[in-house]
Symmetry: C2
Subunit: 416 residues, 2 copies
């Protein structure tokens, strides 16, 4: 008798999974192979209906909760046991790619289809979830569906959050749910046996190392700051350099000092200045104000605290003629995934014959909100050039199938 | 017998000149004591008519040329001699002040009024000119009136230049001239005996030194560049710093290197990075492109050439991971004013008992286009905090009168 986990992995169809990914990419397609599929939009609904149809064809049942999180359930031998949950999200960035989010949903569905094809039963049910609004592209912040489901915040928190055309999240959700009244309802929340999310890496490490699979150990922490440097505008032709309070020049002094402080020979720390806004921003008027952002990330909470707390003094110490206002806008502590789930994924990858690397996730994912609810883990597949949130986002048919095989093996291991 | 030049200077009325400046400031007034008076607008026409009425009351005659340059002529004892020309412009920046440009026209008119009040005659005629469109705020570039008049470019050059609402300079000029058919016409161009322009300094040097008058020795040269640094956008959370091609970081390396190269202990060189545009300019996406401008000015042509020519190599040498495109968009050679006119102004200031400083102009002026036509000079008065092109622009009643007194004395000296 062949090992059921091996049979499930073997039953994963590279062709079917790729075809489904490409079919989904047509819903909200934008030039350059990109996708723009905002959450709770007609495109989102069309995509959900297509996924439901495929799930039903594989013997799964469908239900929806109050946050419009969509669940596809393959029943287990003992329906009273907590299910194993897998999934991701189906919304995209405004100029997004064909893999971010939707890959995790379709890889979960592929696992269900493979189990069905192979005629395999599991003790526990396996559920595939599509979380609502992970990207935050239409309604900020992202991860509303997983946050509401896991109890991190009440769903009503975001009722009044409006999109660019003034439609509130509350109104868009009500409209969406009214169009899904034909679907069985389920309660918001739950306590799965485990949660496992497959996702593209969105970074270059796996590709650079020539590896198949990332065994994700956790999600690094983040601290986001803005620094506003206030000087005085002046005529670029008449104001002597020595009398200026040039906000651009003091901004550069501040960034130079921050670069020195943030330097990490191990290249684990991520320090990014990616947004700069200068006022008045005309070539012949010395800048009166320059604002820049800091995105600081590290998997070690102690490092994140020490480096983040040092920013204000380093900036102030670097300024020569201007003043500065430093504000912290966002903090997310580092998260470690459950060691047993991490080990399950590592063993599944090895059993499939895939090369793998243990690494923390540099990006946020719905998985981070599941950590407090149940043992949680993630599986990464390589991203070409590390590109994501971009139409050029790409993983090959072989790579997406490899991730689905590891997922299927892991789900069998977790569901028994 | 009292010296006629002293009588002319004494006859300058601080009250009259200030009242006229404040009356003009009502035409196109904006909040914060500012002025928005675009060239060839109804406000420009209203201002011109007011100035003409004052000029006629002082015994001057009025005429207009094909560029709508306005001339106010006080006849000399010998009408066949080349006149002495003074003036500036009456248009303002969109958010301009009450002194830039209009001061030079009203100071010239005040000199005419003072000569009239004092009953003084000159050998040569004295003409006050208001040049059309110096600022370039409505139709770019600026100085069209003085450029066309001095033969730097045919007037038709700018026929198709459109303002923000699509009106072309050619159409606006035709409309304007059609409303001035009641005025005597004169030919475009001429060869005055000398040209002298009074203007606010638009810089902080006179105020900082506590001086009354700037004896302007010339206009420094300018070279304007843009540097576009091309890297690759990436996810700020996932892309290791060592694998990034971060356009912001390479831009900072380039500016650091330029700062070192441009450093001038004498603080004569003006090196300004005042505009920065980052793409995509979102806090959590490593910058794929960063563009910055360079405004380089110096009164010495050799220094301007050497420093400007060195920019490209310095930028390329500083880049670590990105490429750059460096382009020069504008060049203006340094201009030296006529030594005899400069000396006339210096002697007039001394004779009035005013403290004075010889300095080059950091900003552009219509005077730079007169240099090729006749002996040319300028008189500066202090600008509070060096502020200009801003509603906060200010010079005191005493300061504006001092400049007019020096102008009146200088005109007498030049007109004989």
């Amino acid at each position: 008798m062949i090992d059921p986990a091996a049979r499930a992995a073997d039953a994963v169809s590279e062709t079917r999974l790729w075809d489904r990914l490409m079919r989904l990419a047509q819903i909200g397609a934008i030039p350059g192979d990109g996708v723009n599929r905002p959450c709770l939009s007609p495109g989102d609904r069309e995509a959900r209906r297509l996924v439901m149809a495929w799930a039903r064809a594989a013997g799964a049942t469908v239900s929806v909760d109050a946050a419009a999180n969509l669940f596809l359930r393959r029943e287990g031998a003992d329906p009273t046991l907590a299910p194993v949950l897998t999934g991701s999200h189906m919304d995209s960035q405004p100029e997004g790619g064909r893999f971010d989010g939707i890959y995790g949903v379709l890889a979960g569905l592929e696992a269900l289809s493979a189990l069905d094809d192979a005629g395999l039963a599991t003790q526990r049910a396996i559920e595939v979830v599509a979380w609502t609004n992970e990207e935050g592209g239409r309604f900020a912040p992202g991860c509303m569906g997983s946050m509401a489901w896991s109890g991190h915040a009440p769903l009503s928190t975001w009722d009044e959050v409006a999109d660019q055309s003034g439609v509130t999240f509350g109104a868009a959700l009500a409209e969406h749910l009214a169009l899904e009244t034909d679907l069985p309802q389920r309660a918001l929340g739950g306590r799965p046996h485990a949660y496992l999310e497959a996702h593209i890496e969105q970074g270059p490490l796996l590709e650079a190392a020539g590896l198949d699979i990332g065994v994700v150990t956790g999600i690094q922490g983040s601290r986001w700051f803005s620094v506003t440097v206030n000087g005085a505008s002046a005529h670029a032709g008449t104001a002597p350099v020595g009398l200026r309070r040039d906000a651009v020049q003091d901004m550069i002094r501040a960034i130079n000092a921050l670069n020195a402080m943030m330097h990490d020979p191990a290249d684990v720390l991520r320090f990014t200045v990616a947004r700069i806004d200068v006022t008045p921003n005309t070539s012949n008027s010395v800048a009166g104000r320059a604002r820049f952002t800091i995105d600081l990330r590290h998997p070690d909470a102690a490092v994140l605290k020490q480096k983040g707390d040092a920013i204000e003094a380093v900036v102030r110490g670097a300024l020569k003629t201007c003043t500065a206002v430093i504000a912290e806008h966002f903090t997310a502590d580092p998260i470690g995934f459950d060691p047993s789930v991490v080990e399950t994924v590592a063993q599944a990858a090895a059993a499939c014959g895939f090369s793998a690397l243990r690494l923390p996730s540099g990006a946020f994912h719905d998985a981070q909100f599941l950590v407090s609810v149940c043992p949680t883990g993630m599986i990464f597949i390589p991203s070409r050039d590390g590109v994501s949130h971009n139409p050029a986002e790409y993983s090959s048919p072989r790579q997406v199938a490899a991730g689905a095989r590891v997922l299927a093996r892991s789900l069998i291991a977790l569901a028994g």
